[in-house]
Amino acid sequence: MADSSRETAPAKTGAGTPKAGTGTAKVQAGTPQAGAGTSVPDGRARAWARDALRWDTVVGALLVVLLLCSFSFVDNFGNALNLSFLIGNTLPIAMIALPMTMLVVSGEIDLSVGSTAGLAGAVMGKLWNQGMSIETIIPLCILLGVVCGLVNGLLVTRLGLPSLAVTIGTLAAYRGIAQIVLGSNSVTDFPQQYLNFASDRLGGTFVPQAALPWVVLLVVAAVVLHATPVGRSLFAVGASQEAARFAGIRVKRMKLSMFVATGTVSALTGVFWALHYASARYDNATGLELSVIAGVLLGGIDFDGGKGTLGGAVAGVFLLGALQNVMSLVNVSAQSQTVVTGVLLVISVLAPRVARQAGRARARRKASAAPPPGALPATG
């Protein structure tokens, strides 16, 4: 039923407007559906059906199906080593996806994440070469991430520049600074216990040690986004900045802090990257932003802001990661993998739309067959 209402909202026509793609995800997870004024007989069932059809749920389901199929049919997939590879290689994307989701929900975007990670790695290598202790370097690098995020955030909130443009600028600038800092060097001799932390697994399991901090971050982000006033405000800011401002929400501060969070986590990722691959170079994590964005988009986060769930984003990221892993194992070439990624992205926006249209057609048929009960929504 929410579906058919969409037909009339004219704002949904232009492709660039708040869109249908993720429209069904807009009622946040778990909102109790049955209403006080409800006289709709099967409200609960429909609400459940609608929830099940939400794109983020679908992506989650797809991920589960993919994993199950791979366990049974793909050689070498299910063993601990491969799973740890899978998780380890997806981890940098999954890390940045957390703050990126929140930033995108608030209506902005940060393309400079890969460069920030690269810069953090480069600075880390440079300072390490100069003999500073790693325990000092890592906090410094994370601080650097804070600064990078601040620069993005201030340019966007204070000057009112579009974040897409600003972060394309800093995408180049941060990478350039990394190049100036580290030049052609590549630093590989980080202390062994740190390298081990970044690549070892937890006991005998397939879970990389580094996944633990990520899980902590995930929980924090999920709670903040979906269960706190801050999260509520983020959705409001993303859906209508002006209305949020009139509701007393500190829009600029909100956005600024999301940029800072993104910068910080990106720097953290940069540090992890350098340790995980045991190599700090200025071009570390090049192009990471596209992977993050592809995953987040696949998870149903709307780039116009105001819509999406963290679970969807994480599922999207891991779906892409797992798919790549499986395709490599079954010897699908890199080119074909690229095509599959693209097709998946297109489907991710087309499928909900097609499903909705089908649902609407069905509803119309039903409506013409049996006229609905005359009961009107009670007044108040």
Binding site: V27, G35, F235, S240, A243, R245, F246
Partner: protein, 506 residues
């Protein structure tokens, strides 16, 4: 119920039209005939289905069943363009302008006058616009971008656009809701001329006196169903209200006398360059102060500045004796100030969020427990206020954008009243609200004032100001020109100050 005049075919008609949105049946088997040379009013409460009916006529919605008849023959409009080509011009309830285009281009989009090789004649576009504005008595620059126009100016542009069609059928959904008397008078002059020239007019307004002033026939809807379609002659306002609401009208301006207490809001020499200058006034507890003025006088701007959404350049604002920081709505809210903004779609509501979320947007801190949202508290806060303001909704989880215009306005009120403010600024609080509910809103405001709330009420509806305000402030050209006590406030005295003539003592 209806008695179609056999000798004439309606220019445009609906026959047995129904339209549902999910479980909401917005129109049920409604018929309507528009005749050339006749102005037809459409009356009904908020959510009765008026706008939906108009959209069915205009090809925006495809009816679930029933037909649209053009000159007696059934037609199917596949989109607004089809209706337009058939000579139907529509002013929708919410202005839909292109913010980046100039006012002139807004009016002529898709049908600009052309020169050789099909090129657009920019000059002719501009001149035609200027001529239209002259006819309407509107003072706008045709080349000005539409971005930043006040709601009233936007509405005027929409009117100019509709007039520019020289349409056979002119449909207007609450065109006057944001206008003051003088613009309305101008508009009616033009519409009468069109009607006499043979156009059919369909007009919606919640200001019943306008219905009586302009229209010959009136059709009333209730809950999506047709109640009556009859000549206006011989009807009284009370009759009409009874048809709409199904009962007798409560007193429209139930102003209670309240004890006037201490100064709650004090504004001193407030100035925002180029917008308003040297504005000073006080609002006391228990008092409703009306702020009147012509469209564009800068009333909304003062309210926005006081609340902190805009910065002010000079002056100060005190709330309960404590100074407010400029440009900080969150602090103003914390201090007990609430602002019901004039543009509900852009400022008042997040259209893509549910009713519940919208109402709770102002109470995120109060409904949270230990930093986490308390779903139960959120829900009961929303239900409580939605019920008190008689919002008509299917489920609280529905998008607020699916509500009718008047019900959206109620949600905005609910959202702010729920904060339990000490000073309430309402900017056009009853714009687009039906008479029955208007009385409710007035009673509520009056009650709140009686309980010690200080209310500043901005309104372009002069009777509302006169009926509700203890004191009337009048603005003209960004300055306060008069302060009139309730006893002395009359249409004449207020209009005199609003047009800048009688600079009576402040």
């Amino acid at each position: 119920m209806t008695d179609p005049e056999p000798e004439r075919t309606p220019v445009l008609a609906l026959e047995g039209v129904s339209k549902s949105f999910g479980a909401v049946r917005a129109l049920r088997d409604v018929s309507l005939q528009l005749y050339a040379g006749e102005a037809h009013a459409l009356a009904g409460e908020n959510g009765a289905g008026k706008s939906t009916l108009i959209k069915a006529l205009a090809g925006v919605h495809r009816p679930d069943s029933g037909t649209v008849l053009l000159d007696g023959a059934p037609v199917v409009f596949h989109g607004p363009a089809d209706a337009r080509d058939a000579g139907v011009a529509v002013i929708y309830q919410e202005p839909t302008l292109f913010p980046d285009l100039s006012v002139a281009e807004n009016i002529f989009v898709g049908r600009q006058p052309r020169r050789s090789f099909g090129r657009v004649d920019h000059r002719a576009v501009k001149e035609a616009t200027a001529a239209l504005f002259a006819r309407l008595g509107v003072d706008l620059d045709p080349e000005q971008p539409a971005r930043g126009l006040s709601i009233a100016d936007q509405q005027l542009v929409e009117i100019a656009k509709a007039l520019s069609f020289d349409a056979r059928v002119l449909i207007m959904d609450e065109p006057t809701a944001a206008l003051t008397g003088s613009e309305v008078a101008r508009l009616f002059g033009v519409v009468r001329a069109l009607r006499e020239g043979g156009a059919a007019v369909l007009f919606i307004s919640h200001r019943l006196e306008e219905v009586f002033a302009l229209c010959q026939r009136v059709t009333t809807l209730r809950d999506g169903g047709l109640i009556a379609s009859e000549p206006v002659d011989g009807l009284t306002e009370d009759d009409l209200v009874r048809r709409m609401v199904g009962r007798d009208l409560d007193e429209l301006y139930p102003k209670q006398d309240a004890e006037v207490g201490d100064v709650a809001l004090s504004v001193r020499r407030l100035t925002r360059e180029g917008v308003f200058t040297d504005v000073s006034f006080d609002v006391h507890r228990g008092e409703i102060v009306g702020l009147a003025g012509l469209v564009g006088a800068g009333r909304s701007e003062v309210a926005r500045a006081v609340f902190g959404v805009d910065r002010w350049d000079a002056g100060e604002v005190h709330l309960d004796g404590r100074p407010l920081k400029p440009g900080a709505p969150s602090l103003a809210m914390a201090a007990g100030l609430a602002l019901v903004p004039e543009d509900r779609r852009a400022q008042g509501l997040v259209m893509d969020m549910s009713i519940e979320r919208n109402i709770n947007l102002t109470g995120l801190r109060t409904t949270a427990r230990a930093g986490l949202m308390d779903r139960g508290a959120e829900r009961s806060r929303a239900v409580d206020w939605a019920v008190r303001l008689q919002v008509k909704y299917a489920r609280l989880a529905d998008l607020v954008g699916t509500l009718s215009g008047g019900n959206q306005q109620k949600v905005v009120l609910a959202k702010w009243l729920a904060t339990g403010p000490r000073v309430l600024i309402v900017d056009e609080p009853t714009r687009g609200i039906d008479v029955g509910t208007k009385a409710e809103v007035h009673r509520l405001l009056s009650q709140l004032a009686a309980d010690g709330l200080a209310v500043l009420m901005i309104s372009s509806d002069l009777p509302e100001i006169l009926g509700m305000a203890d004191r009337v402030l009048v603005m003209h050209e960004g300055r306060l020109t008069a302060e009139i006590a309730r006893e002395d406030a009359t249409e004449e005295s207020v209009m005199a100050a609003a047009t800048g003539r009688g600079r009576s003592a402040a």
